[in-house]
């Protein structure tokens, strides 16, 4: 059986469980006498709870308890206790039920607990609350006047704007071609299909087993142990399957806190599931305003870039994501100023959402570049090639690899870019305007410290384990492929375990770093096992591998072969038979090689091409075709990788055309808090999508050469669609989403 599967199309090993309903998500574990809880959400945006009456609620048959700030157990007052691995350092994390204060609309202010789900839900409707409402501000256009400049980083891995280069003001003033535009992107919600759920199992020894919807079991464990005074031994967090997350489950959400609190106090198991409406009161992609000035020569050579970016945060945490920096990264320009500001409003704290910052920042700069192409009469690809950067302009460092030119070339060829008519409104079929546009995409490829364990049984079955997460990204399968490649095992001999705090610690599942981090750790753990196997094989009587080093042999198809003469080998079975009858267990910790990566920066890149049809009379847009050429290093599972990119493109279609959370500023509340009114792409919105993986060799980014693909599929898509819409209609929309009212 083939054991060299890297880069091929491999069906997910967890597929049969997913298509049969056997895969268990957080809300699908049961415990004896489990209680159900339901959150009561604040109906004011800023203020205080004057009174809260739970009497009626407690009369519901099956009622057990209503938790409020009045009757909650002792909770830590020190807000640092509530920090999690992904929290902004500046500010105070929300402390549910801590006091009478309401910081944002929909804040959890009470928790109804009952013997059944239906009783808890009914109870929640009977809790009556009086508020003292205070004035609030949820309108960015007004709040922007109190914006605060970001001067330093306040979250791990999040960079403040780099210092300015040259003099962008002077260069802009002197430039022959000037562009000065504002780009506005709305609040968006992750909306994973699975509702946020935590099932807390209260064990007989008073320890907790928590099934949480999370992108990091260790982050959930850290949060619970810190706040509720448990030791790590007393709290096991498991999350074998996650029904999508896209960043929303990086930080612990309040259902984890509330379910744990209820279980601890009531000494019973508790399940708490948020409603879809309530999920519109969780973290989200922040609304942004980006002011971009580009100065260029008449041939499009960039002389000045000035980006000033505003992004919304909450009043209680100064969250920010990297938006401005993307504009100065990818194009050669000597005069660059990038400024980032946060705008505090009475909202819940935003959070990382698929390609946080790049989704908005790259959309703006890639739209501006298209405008520059129009202003200079240059072809959009030619303009980008003219300003192409061979070095990371922000850090003045070499790229570990950057096959973006090849993305432009292969993407343009498959898309047949040459048939594009550069003049807007010059391509039509009856009343349908046809447009073609393109944009580039970029995302970082970091490697984080990670640990993994590999255990090879005497019967040749391998178990690989890491406390990482598979949120649909294909982690289970990628771990199996890498393990199989290293030890010459077919997939049906490999068991993968993840999503459990009993397993070696992995980083948060996000930032496109899981394959580079966990994949490397898995590979290294399996390599350590292979060393021991080789020793056993070489020790056999008349072994052809006697004296051979690991480099001189190859593990393939359950054999260990001599590279110099592949007819000479020892079967894995024979080697293991020489062992002591116990599994060979190895753990590995891996992290970035500072020595190797010194002087380099690593990114994934893309070139995205879009064809749109716009109805001239009604302004309706159909994205008929997308071609995305990706430079993402080594591809581990081609099938899942392609799916990841397709998924990102579908997100890009949503971002370009549909997604927008709309706030009623009188109420301070998001009004389209459901799938019927907050539109995401449905099947009928998605047409032809083609994905190209451009060959890209990179032995600096990490030992396995894979860059991670979770974000790059999305980045640049909205710009490519917007640019295609301009090409079709001659209308430039700088305020997302591009709905029909903006085109007619």
């Amino acid at each position: 059986m083939n054991t060299h599967l890297i880069g091929t199309d491999v069906n997910r090993i967890d597929g049969p469980a997913k298509v049969s309903g056997a895969a268990k998500y957080a809300g699908e574990f049961f415990a004896p006498d489990m209680l159900y809880a339901y959150v009561v959400s604040a109906s004011v945006t800023h203020g205080e709870i004057k009174s809260i009456n739970i009497d009626k609620a407690m009369k519901v048959p099956g009622a057990v308890k209503v938790f409020t700030h009045k009757n909650r157990p002792h909770l830590p007052w020190f807000d640092r206790t509530y920090l999690d691995e992904d929290a902004p350092i500046d500010g105070s994390p929300l402390r549910p039920l801590y006091d009478a204060r309401v910081h944002h609309n929909g804040q959890p202010i009470a928790l109804a607990v009952a013997e059944t789900f239906e009783a808890a839900r009914y109870m929640a409707t009977l809790v009556s609350i009086e508020y003292k409402a205070l004035t609030h501000q949820t309108d960015m256009a007004i709040a922007i006047h109190e914006a605060e400049k970001v001067k330093k980083t306040n979250r791990a891995g999040i960079e403040a704007p780099p210092k300015l280069r040259g003099n962008s003001a002077e260069a802009y003033a002197a430039a022959a071609i000037k562009l000065d535009k504002e780009y506005h992107s709305p609040t968006e919600f992750h909306n994973p299909m699975e509702l946020f759920t935590t099932t807390v199992v209260y064990n007989s020894d008073e320890t907790l087993t928590i099934y949480d919807k999370t992108q990091s079991v260790s982050n959930s464990q850290l949060y619970v142990t810190n706040i509720f005074g448990y030791s790590k031994d007393e709290v096991r967090v498991e999350s074998p399957f996650v029904g999508g997350a896209f960043g929303s489950a990086l930080r612990p959400q309040h259902q984890l806190f509330l379910a744990t609190l209820a279980a601890k106090v009531l000494k019973r198991s508790v399940r708490l599931t948020l409603t879809r409406d309530q999920m519109f009161t969780l973290c989200h992609r922040p609304e942004t305003l980006q002011e971009i000035r580009l100065g260029a020569d008449t041939d499009g050579t960039l002389q000045a870039i000035h980006t000033e970016t505003f992004q919304v945060t909450s009043r209680y945490e100064n969250y920010f994501e990297v938006i401005a920096n993307w504009s100065g990264l990818s194009y050669r320009c000597d005069n660059v100023t990038m400024e980032e500001s946060t705008v505090a409003m009475d909202t819940v704290t935003p959070g990382d959402m698929r390609a946080p910052g790049a989704a908005q920042g790259v959309w703006a700069i890639e739209t501006a570049m298209d405008e520059l192409a129009v202003a200079t009469g240059r072809d959009p690809i030619e303009l980008r090639l003219q300003n192409y950067a061979d070095k990371d302009q922000n850090h003045d460092k070499k790229y570990s690899s950057k096959e973006l030119k090849e993305c432009y070339r292969q993407g343009a060829e498959l898309f047949d870019w040459t048939r594009r008519k550069s003049k807007p409104r010059s391509n039509r079929r009856g009343s349908t305007l046809i447009g073609h546009g393109m944009a580039g995409g970029v995302w970082e490829s970091p490697q984080m410290p990670a640990a993994a364990k590999a255990s090879l049984s005497p019967d040749g079955t391998l178990t690989v384990a890491s406390g990482t997460s598979d949120i649909g990204t294909g982690t289970y399968t990628a771990m199996a492929i890498l393990a199989g490649e290293t030890l010459g095992l077919p997939l049906d001999r490999i068991i993968v375990k993840l999503g459990d705090t009993e397993l070696p610690v992995a980083p948060l599942e996000g930032g496109s770093w899981t394959i580079s981090s966990v994949g490397t750790a898995v590979t290294e753990a399996c390599k350590a096992v292979s060393k021991k196997v080789l020793k056993l094989a070489a020790g056999l009587d008349n072994s052809p591998l006697k004296g051979a080093s690991l480099k001189e042999v190859e593990f393939s198809e359950e054999r260990i072969l001599l590279r110099s003469d592949r007819s000479r080998f020892v079967s894995l079975q024979a080697a293991l038979a020489a062992g002591d009858g116990k599994p060979i267990v190895e753990k590995a910790k891996s992290g970035p090689s500072l020595l190797k990566q010194h002087g380099y920066k690593s990114f994934t890149h893309s070139a995205v091409f879009a064809e749109v049809e716009v109805d001239e009379d009604f302004g309706t847009v159909s994205v008929c075709r997308i071609v995305s050429a990706i430079a993402g290093g080594r591809i581990i599972n081609h099938e899942a990788a392609r799916s990841q990119i397709i998924g990102g493109i579908v997100w890009g279609i949503g971002m370009a055309l549909q997604e927008e959370a709309v706030t009623d500023h009188q109420l301070g509340r998001i009004m389209n808090h459901n799938f019927a009114e907050y539109h995401t792409p449905v099947n009928a919105d998605v047409h032809d999508i083609e994905v190209i993986f451009v060959p890209e060799v990179d032995d600096i980014v990490n030992p396995i050469g894979a860059k991670g693909l979770g974000e790059i599929g999305l980045v640049g898509v909205a710009a490519a669609i917007g640019n295609a819409i301009y090409n079709a209609t001659g209308v430039r929309v700088r305020k997302l989403p591009i709905t029909l009212d903006k085109l007619i």
Binding site: K18, Y25, E28, G472
Partner: protein, 174 residues
């Protein structure tokens, strides 16, 4: 497995309801406000049917009710006395997948897997309806099943595969 005690525990208003679920006959005492989805998930512990919105807007809870695809979150269980329900578990288990389930595996018609049981039940129900001829038809008639991971092109490929195989007489529509 079946937590019928939990169904009865607080149910002075419980109504006797007979349901056949995946071929198993149940006599249940159900409070009138219990949705078919909650009954399946919390009481019968058939958690393959998913809750994504509880408002009939996402399709994750799609099951076959007397052979017809429905959003089980919008069905009150007591209203379906005597009905036959088929959930994803009834279509095929992990080691004996039905053709539609196998096609989803082969075409990577999912990512996180949460909308998947609903997509599959919906696709099976859709093909039974017999109105689907083209890829565009599949897209349109599966648009009640949201997939936030964006697996739509692969879902369409999987359904098309089953549809084509059925037309060629290679297997049933399931």
């Amino acid at each position: 497995m079946i937590n019928e005690a939990a169904v009865e525990r607080h149910s002075a208003l419980a109504v006797e309801t007979r349901l056949t679920v995946n071929g198993h006959a149940h006599t249940l005492y159900i409070e009138p406000w219990t949705s078919l989805l909650d009954l399946l998930r919390e009481n019968l512990r058939l958690t393959g049917s998913k809750k994504g919105c509880d408002h009939g807007q996402c399709g994750a809870c799609t099951v076959l009710l007397d052979g017809v695809r429905v959003n089980s979150c919008l069905c009150l269980a007591v209203m379906h006395d005597g009905a036959e329900v088929t959930t994803i578990e009834g279509l095929g288990g992990e080691t004996h997948l039905s053709p539609m389930q196998q096609a989803f595996v082969d075409h990577d018609g999912y990512q996180c897997g949460y909308c998947t049981p609903g997509q599959i039940c919906s696709a099976v129900g859709m093909l039974r309806e017999g109105h689907v001829k083209t890829e565009a038809d599949i897209r349109e008639q599966l648009s009640g099943n949201l997939c936030r991971c964006g697996a739509y092109p692969n879902i369409v490929a999987a359904v098309k595969h089953v549809m084509t195989a059925a037309a060629a007489g290679e297997g049933g529509a399931q």
